[in-house]
């Protein structure tokens, strides 16, 4: 770890949070697809933040609760 808390190499960062990165990428792809179909969505920052929170925090929490 560096002094600022980040890993030294990109490879280390990817290895540590591969699942998280994939989740963000999938969310991004879904948001882009929705945005291209309905461009009105792209104007609202709160919509993007809400979408991100639902996909990155809400859904994984729901899945883990259902599994347990």
């Amino acid at each position: 770890m560096r002094e600022d808390g980040s890993p030294f190499r990109l490879r280390e960062a990817l290895a540590a949070g591969r699942r998280e990165l994939l989740l963000y990428l999938a969310t991004g792809v879904a948001y882009v697809a929705i945005g291209v179909a309905f461009p009105e969505v792209l104007f609202a920052w709160p919509v993007a933040v809400g979408f991100l929170l639902i996909c990155v925090v809400g859904l994984p929490a729901l899945v883990s609760r259902l599994r347990s």
């Binding site: 980040s6 890993p7 945005g35 792209l42």
Partner: protein, 334 residues
């Protein structure tokens, strides 16, 4: 106007300044100039009521209008207000840095920004891409993502990705949370995963939106690429010299915009700042007790005394390290 740069600039600045900047005020500062005016530029229709500026460019960037939000002094004023409320220098100047980044980035279009308002209402414009806010948000988006505007945003997308360290959880925990009181407060109510997602949200928004608009403009719609300076030729644009041409108002605020009065104002502000700095430095000298010249001569005398003492007691120098296990003499004795 820029479409994604304002979302991504804070991450690049965060990478450069680390713990010396607070992220939330930086981000709010980066959005601040457009926060209260953009909706009126493109127009909204709440309950069937059509709300839109008659002259969107004049309202957005000019005076009379909301163009003062894109001046450097506006950022300083809001920064001072934030400092008066929170008494936190980092919060105050983080806002100023964000707002200045926005104001400077927006000079890239054909209208530009009134950077030095209220000293002058001159619009500083580089003119690389077209200001087409008056054509509506979709044509404006099409024009922006068909000219140099999207290249400019692309620079920030690449720069933001190269600054990947600031997006890691470890960096957020060690650097961002340490510098910004907002995250410490929010951390009492929300999980770390939620905080990190909120922290990354604008980056996500900027990059995803850049990609989505690019696809929309050239795959869904077929706006033609045109990378000429000033934006695509097919879009009607507004230039800086078309703004601020209203007959002169006689109120003190408007009068101060005249160049000569602006110059006098700048001279007065410099004189005041110089006097203020001089009085501050005089006070700090008085607090320290004696002038620098006296202090330096005393230091010189002390140094000379120490040198003469060391010369007379040079044999004792070896003994000084005797008690320490890592010194040669100490090891020999051991």
């Amino acid at each position: 106007m820029s479409w994604s740069a304002h979302d991504l600039e804070p991450y690049v600045i965060q990478k450069e300044l680390g713990k010396r900047i607070a992220f939330v005020p930086l981000l709010i500062g980066s959005y601040a100039p457009d926060l209260t005016s953009k909706w009126f530029v493109y127009g909204v229709t709440p309950f069937g009521l059509d709300l839109k500026a008659d002259n969107p460019a004049q309202f957005h960037r000019g005076w009379p209008g909301a163009g003062f939000t894109h001046s450097l002094l506006f950022g300083v004023l809001i920064g001072l207000i934030l400092y008066a409320i929170w008494r936190n220098k980092v919060v105050a100047y983080s806002f100023v840095v964000g707002q200045w980044a926005h104001a400077l980035t927006d000079t890239g279009d054909t209208v530009g920004t009134m950077l030095l308002f209220p000293f002058t209402d001159h619009l500083f414009a580089v003119g690389a891409w077209a200001y087409a806010g008056q054509t509506g948000r979709y044509v404006d988006a099409g024009a922006y993502f068909s000219g140099l505007g999207f290249v400019w945003d692309g620079v920030f997308v690449v720069w933001g990705i190269l600054s990947w360290r600031v997006l890691t959880r470890g960096y957020f925990r060690t650097t961002v949370m340490a510098a910004d009181p907002f995250w410490r407060w929010a951390g009492r109510h929300l999980s770390e995963t939620t905080l990190v997602a909120l922290y990354r949200a604008s980056f996500f928004y900027g990059v995803a939106r850049w990609a989505a608009w690019l696809i929309w403009a050239h795959v869904v719609r077929s706006f033609a690429f045109d990378f000429r300076w000033g934006g695509p030729r097919w879009v009607p644009r507004v230039y800086a010299d078309e703004l601020n041409t209203a007959p002169a108002c006689r109120c003190p605020g408007c009068c101060s915009m005249r160049p000569r009065l602006g110059f006098y104002g700048a001279v007065a502000a410099c004189a005041w700042a110089k006097g203020f700095i001089a009085s501050r430095s005089g006070r700090s000298l008085r607090v320290r007790g004696r002038p620098r010249a006296v202090r330096s001569s005393r230091r010189r005398r002390l140094r000379a005394g120490a040198r003469s003492r060391s010369r007379t007691s040079s044999p004792g120098r070896a003994d000084r390290g005797a008690g320490r296990p890592w010194s040669a003499s100490g090891r020999e004795r051991a």
